[in-house]
Symmetry: C2
Subunit: 225 residues, 2 copies
């Protein structure tokens, strides 16, 4: 990370931290480890982030768009004009779950030998740090077209949406996890601005209120019967 | 290496090999280690190679042309049309010496953070393997313009040249190491074909013979005096 000019490391539920072996191996870059922020969840790590790239070894069964590192970089750097962007790496053993990938706006797959594709996390981080550094050196920013909302604002919308879809009875027979993935996909493709989130949440609030009034009237009518 | 589709590993005077820790870390790619060729010298490792890239952390005081990995790749892949090409990495502690770099036709420097540029060997190998793999996927070969001689043929010429320059007295007051570096630079830029090496060595042989005759006559004349 440090050789490629990256500084901000967030560790989500690390098994050991600080770790003597990691500190020893970081020789000269131990400031990166010292300043690492330890988080309890992906959401906590992504507070304030406006664009998240999730690394994936899989190409199928992914709910978000997937690019190669080189294809992704212009977009990543462009998004970084609006606020912090994050590269999200999964665990050494199993990578990111589908649910975790849903937190991101873009998936990135490092093309590997089909006969041996298990790139370890350190190698994947090296490739992405290198690509970021090379791309940054020749990047010419264009004027941002939207002002994307932060991760926590977007997650707040998804929570509100899911709660509402349960309340109005849309999520009874359906599989909510799968449908929420589809809805996340739609909105992550669009990129939401703060004002748009306000509008959507306003609609959700009114939806529930309307539903609440219907319920109340139904109960009233049945009481009358 | 294996994740990026590379297979041929040559180790020059490894401190430990085979090594239990290395084998354990290679999980799934242990065939690369098993098939690794252990050599006693760079020349031995480069037998049959037609183009060698030397990795360098330095940009100054280098006797050969230096490119970035991305700039170098089209040329590396093009040279690979004619025969094996090699990526030559130095030791973890000190990299390659100037003399070792002189064995290569091209230097490659991975751009790093000026404030922290010490990329370790594993990271450098990962970057180069990745760049090779990405470049190979979109590479369109052009017709080779020359048929480059192998490493050992070129080294044979340099030995012959150095011996001759000593014999004819060119290397008495001069610093031969530095001048040989300059001559290597000249010929590595040109890329020599087999036939050209034959011609140059022919000239060297005649030069020595001519010089031998001169010497003999000089000694004869002095005897006469």
């Amino acid at each position: 990370m440090k050789t490629m000019g990256l500084r901000h490391l967030y560790l989500i539920n690390p098994r050991y931290f600080p770790d003597a072996q990691a500190t020893a191996m970081a020789a000269g870059a131990d400031d990166i480890l010292e300043n690492a922020v330890v988080c309890n969840s992906i959401d906590e790590a992504l507070q304030g982030v406006v664009f998240t790239v999730a690394m994936t070894a899989r190409l199928r069964d992914i709910s978000i768009e997937v690019k190669t590192p080189r294809e992704a970089m212009p977009q990543v750097l462009q998004e970084a004009q609006a606020g912090p962007v994050a590269l999200l790496f999964g665990t050494e053993m199993s990578g990111l779950t589908n649910e975790e990938m849903g937190k991101a706006q873009l998936g990135v797959n490092i093309p590997t030998n089909p006969e041996f594709s298990s790139l370890n996390v350190a190698a994947a981080v090296q490739v992405m740090a290198y690509e970021t550094s090379v791309a940054a050196q020749s990047f010419v920013p264009s004027v941002p077209q939207i002002e994307p909302a932060t991760h926590e604002r977007v997650e707040g919308l998804y929570e509100h949406l899911q709660r509402t879809l349960f309340e109005i009875g849309f999520f009874t027979t359906q599989n909510p996890a799968r449908l929420m993935q589809r809805l996340r996909r739609l909105y992550s493709r669009t990129r939401l601005e703060d004002e748009e989130i306000n509008i959507l949440r306003g609609i959700l609030t009114v939806t529930t209120e309307y539903n609440g009034r219907l319920k109340a009237r139904y109960q009233q009518e049945h009481k009358d019967v």
